[in-house]
């Protein structure tokens, strides 16, 4: 009898352990199961489409027929003005680039003004689904962009990608399974992103080095990070004046499937809003719920650290202090620290400046979801599994700090102490109010 009990106990222990492991790992990979349509069900009218795009005259509407169509080469609209590309509707006109052999994007729109894309679905481009470059006045409306395979790093990078554009409106679009970002706006100005749905991307909505950006009314769920804004050195322009308000940013817990080397690859799974070296950002009136790390905020210094592709050895401040500023010795020390390349852009500020977080509705994600990445597990262990609203890298801004928070209840801040490999993660509480042009100084924590 004892022997039998022993066996039972043994079996139970094994199943308990298996169950626990399962409980932690089994649904990392939660995404909706969607049957992928066979490419044979798409018809080939590629040359008619190519002619349609090439022969369009300024001022015309290019009408795309209803149906599922397949392409091997990018569709390009270049140097044309006042053009509308209009499909029969989202999911009614479906363009698939799954068999693409030429061109790095599905649709490329370049060098023009007043271009509108509306009412169609674009799938499975080998690079980005739609890229728009050097366009003034650009609208995306009722566009669905998706990769139809399960989220993995072989998928294309950006769903909708306007870069170096002005006066951009993206509304009522749906973006899914971009291995970098669903909607990605780069180096542009005067941008409205409203009433879109982004899900199952690494970054749902991502705004890089752009100014005068209004992001509202969007629904971002089950991405690795719901909304991301970043400011990167050396590019054509910098970030300024970004408003993120009245969005529903929830349950962003998808695993990170961005190819290594990209900034998106260092996004911590479970993040509601990620800010890298933000400039003048106002985050208010959002529902930020079910995200284990509701807001993550990093300086660009930390981004190099978190990329981890190159071993990071922080420059010891004491070592630097004994060297003459501008000396060869100092230069050579800095040279050894590959991750300080940003310092070469003299106009660039690698810190977060003028960020306010106020009047948002909060809830936290489950403990289990915190543990699905190395960074997440590290942060969680160091905070003993406690929740915090804001997770920031703890890199002090030498110019003082201008991050302010305003919350009805206690606002919890985790200082991740990134430069010391998170050895001393600290949790602090703040109920400080956002006042005009001043706020809580986090740099002294």
């Amino acid at each position: 009898m004892m022997k039998i009990l022993k066996y039972i106990g043994f079996a139970l222990a094994i199943f308990l352990i298996a169950g626990l492991i399962w409980w932690f790992v089994a649904d990392y990979q939660v995404y909706e199961d969607r049957p992928q349509k066979s490419l044979a069900e798409y018809v080939d009218l590629e040359s008619d489409f190519q002619k349609l795009f090439q022969l369009a005259k300024d001022g015309e509407t290019i009408e795309l027929p209803a149906g599922h169509f397949k392409f091997t080469k990018a569709l390009i609209l270049d140097g044309k003005n006042n053009i509308t590309i209009k499909g029969a509707g989202l999911d009614k006109t479906v363009l698939s680039f799954r068999g693409q052999t030429e061109g790095a994007e599905g649709i490329r729109v370049a060098n023009g003004h007043n271009i509108t894309l509306e009412g169609f679905t674009i799938q499975d481009a080998i690079g980005d689904n739609v890229k728009a470059i050097y366009i003034d006045t650009l609208t995306f409306r009722h566009i669905k962009t998706e990769w139809t395979d399960v989220p993995n790093e072989s998928l294309g990078a950006y769903g909708i990608y306007p870069v170096i554009c002005k006066n951009v409106l993206i509304e009522n679009c749906e973006a899914m399974r971009g291995s970098d970002s669903g909607l990605y706006i780069g180096q542009s100005e005067n941008i409205v992103i409203r009433n879109n749905i982004a899900h199952e991307n690494v970054c749902g909505i991502n705004v890089e080095n752009s100014a005068n950006v209004d992001i509202y009314g969007n629904e971002c769920y089950n991405n690795t990070s719901g909304i991301t804004t970043l400011d990167i050195p050396g590019l054509t322009r910098y970030m300024d004046n970004v408003r993120i308000h009245d969005n529903k940013i929830y349950n962003n817990v998808l695993y990170n499937f961005a190819p290594a080397g990209n900034v998106a690859a260092s996004t911590v799974p479970g993040t509601g809003i990620t800010v890298w070296a933000g400039k003048n950002i106002d985050i208010y009136d959002n529902q930020i719920t079910g995200n284990p790390f509701p807001v993550a905020m990093f300086s660009f210094i930390a981004s190099y650290h978190m990329t981890k592709d190159k071993e990071f050895v922080p420059i010891a401040e004491t070592e630097l202090a004994r060297m003459e500023v501008g000396s060869d010795e100092e230069a050579s020390l800095r040279e050894d620290h590959i991750n300080e390349a940003y310092a070469k852009d003299k106009e660039y500020n690698p810190y977060n400046v003028d960020i306010s977080i106020r009047n948002n509705e909060w809830s936290f994600g489950s403990l289990r979801k915190k543990l699905q990445s190395k960074d997440g597990a590290l942060f969680t262990a160091a905070t003993m599994g406690k929740n915090a609203h804001l997770w920031y890298d703890g890199v002090p801004n030498p110019d003082g700090n201008t991050i302010c928070v305003n919350s009805d209840s206690d606002f919890l801040i985790a200082n991740l102490d990134i430069l010391n490999d998170s050895k001393n993660i600290e949790l602090t509480k703040s109920t400080n109010q956002c006042k005009q042009a001043e706020g809580l100084s986090l740099s002294t924590n």
Partner: protein, 375 residues
């Protein structure tokens, strides 16, 4: 195993099963909702395109009269002038014969850095061909296409490519591009196969555009500053054109910058040849005002800033083109440099340049590899 343990097992499975049903509900998406009416779709598009043309270019290449004698011999007429570049663009191992034709009595104006100023009415003519056997040039060649750039009052225009027929007797204007299978024996004696891609007219712009202005890429003074075996003898190209009265404002030839020949070490240092190669293969996009400006990578021959050359520079929008590598160039570590990964890639989502290449340029890769390794 007794009954009790079996019961426990069943309970455990039930528990696990129950938990898995807590996962988010999976939505069924009806992807077959649209059946495609192919004929209606075709009709709708053809109606929109009906009667429209690109309104540029003669239908046949022979109509221009660029060449004397049989078209396929590419023997230039008297007013059609040949030229070569020190370091040309790699185009899938094709060979190129280049010419320009000026309107009568007009001249080119010298410029130090940028493409020379050609007069309105100039044609630039570029023929792409493969030797059937590079180890035996007597075995003939196959001309694939002829591309024309035309200088008009309001700037340069790219004409659609002229695609050569199999008989090599004529080339026809082709707006939408074409794909042609070609095979040849390379200089190592290896049989090569390629689905050669003739670009559509709009694709030409992907390279030939700077600040939204169309422009030729090759004929810069530093690229033309080299000898050429003209019929009248071997001479420096720039001096020759100047002597013919076709080029004005040419300074003392000894004072003009000369681009190295990428694969000839006697013409320049490793650094110089690497930059010349990058300039011709990458800088049409990767420079200020170019479409590749978005990444802060400026791969021009005259660039001196390490960051803009890609050294320790993060990728910006490379996607899977990073190959998992951290920086565009890591000094001394070609195998950790994204630049090399993208030169060796052939998937259009990863490779560089993005268009105009299907094969890896192994010799170019070796040059850049050595350059990075010795940094």
């Amino acid at each position: 195993m007794n009954i009790r343990s079996i019961v426990y097992l069943i309970l455990l499975f039930a528990f696990l099963k129950g938990m898995s049903s807590c996962a988010p509900a999976k939505k069924d998406v009806d992807v077959t909702a649209v059946t495609t009416d192919m004929e209606a779709a075709r009709k709708m598009m053809q109606q929109q395109s009906a009667g429209k043309t690109v309104d540029i270019g003669l239908e046949k290449l022979s109509e221009y009269g660029f060449f004397a004698g049989a078209l396929k011999d590419l023997i230039p007429s008297a007013d059609v002038i040949p030229y070569e570049l020190n370091t040309p663009l790699f185009s899938d191992y094709s060979h190129k014969m280049r010419f320009f034709k000026l309107p009568e009595g007009e001249t080119i104006t010298y410029r130090e850095e940028d493409v020379l100023t050609f007069p309105v009415g100039t044609y630039i003519i570029k023929n792409f061909y493969y030797h059937n056997d590079e180890t035996n040039l007597d075995a003939g060649r196959r001309i694939m296409e002829t591309r024309l750039l035309l200088r008009e009052d309001d700037g340069w225009k790219t004409l659609p490519s002229y695609v050569w027929n199999d008989e090599q007797t004529e080339a026809i204007l082709t707006v939408e591009g074409a794909t042609k299978d070609i095979s040849w024996v390379n200089k190592e004696g290896k049989q090569m196969e390629l689905a050669y891609s003739v670009p559509s007219q709009v694709l030409c712009k992907s390279c030939h555009v700077n600040n939204n202005i169309l422009t030729p890429i090759g004929p810069k003074a530093r690229q033309l500053n080299r000898d050429f075996a003209f019929e009248s003898g071997t001479k420096n190209q720039l001096t020759h054109y100047s002597g013919l009265g076709l080029l004005k404002g040419l300074p003392d030839i000894a004072s003009i910058r000369k681009s190295p020949v990428w694969n000839d070490p006697s013409t320049g240092s490793l650094h110089g040849r690497a930059l010349a190669y990058l300039d011709m293969n990458c800088a049409h996009c990767h420079r200020e005002g170019g479409p590749g400006n978005t990444s802060a990578l400026h791969l021009t021959e005259l660039e001196t800033d390490e960051f803009h050359l890609g050294i320790n520079k993060h990728p910006i929008a490379a996607g899977k083109g990073t190959g998992g590598r951290p920086y565009d160039i890591v000094k001394g570590e070609p195998e950790n440099s994204i630049m090399l990964y993208r030169m060796q890639a052939t998937s259009p989502g990863e490779m560089m340049p993005e268009v105009g290449r299907k094969l890896v340029h192994h010799e170019g890769v070796e040059l850049i590899k050595e350059w990075i390794a010795k940094m």
